[in-house]
Symmetry: C2
Subunit: 126 residues, 2 copies
DNA sequence: CTCCTTTGCTACAATAATCGTAGCGACATG
DNA sequence: CATGTCGCTACGATTATTGTAGCAAAGGAG
């Protein structure tokens, strides 16, 4: 019934090594079959919690748990799934010292999203 | 199980008057209980097809069907639901002459999203 | 006034995505 | 060893999204 799907973000990981290196399999982004970068990006950002996660990491790194709390205590399942996607697409990374943070590319993206803050304020006042 | 929900975008509309004026009920946006404008906005945009719909309307109005086709033939159910949300939040409107188009506010929002196009291009090349 | 097409919109069952709660193994500290 | 945190997963329950059909209200052509 679906046209294309992220076959299943991540299948199974052997065990639980404190830090699991991201394996490079499934594209992680379903992306409107055209493959046009913008569409792929819009699709990626248009998934629940993705924008929020990026936003919460805009000026600091957060541990997996802190990140969940920052996102209104979102389900660990989905936050983890989003983190995997964002890592696979090179926007986010797990710091060697621990905690998640934006990559250089991720910060570039966030820079283009920052104006949303101002817009939101104007928007609120109709 | 849910913390907050869009009780059900729209229940039932009496009949099918060619153009149904949006009724003002449910907030339409669940928005991370904090109520902070940015969060509400991120939540709204973080729903499937929302960003895409706005994007497709960036430089032209489209009829409901044309809009669906532009969005990779997304399900009419979901496109309609998103359109309702976007109308309720004043970002999109149904032109008297027919077809959906961005409101002034909607265009403001889109203006802040346009840079995503350039980013996406850079992003593609890693 | 019919026939025909388009428009905005809905119903419905099936499927996929998301949610909550619980918990694992690895590692560090006391 | 006992305790705590870390990144991460399992799994049943609940929503959200998908596809397919189709309705009623205009509008146009004949």
């Amino acid at each position: 019934m679906m046209k294309t799907t992220t076959k299943a973000a991540a299948k199974k990981l052997a065990a639980n090594p404190r830090q699991g290196k991201r394996r490079t399999k499934e594209p992680a982004v379903r992306g409107s079959r055209t493959g046009r970068p913008v569409m792929v990006l819009l699709d990626l950002l248009g998934r629940r919690w993705t924008l929020r996660i990026l936003w919460e990491l805009r000026e600091r790194s957060l541990t997996s748990r802190a990140l969940r709390e920052a996102c209104d205590d979102a389900s660990p399942t989905i936050v983890q799934a989003r983190v995997v996607e964002l890592r696979d697409t090179g926007l986010l990374e797990l710091n060697p010292a621990g905690g998640y943070g934006l990559t250089a590319t991720g910060q570039e993206l966030l820079a283009t999203l920052l104006p949303l803050h101002q817009f939101a304020e104007r928007w609120r006042r109709q």
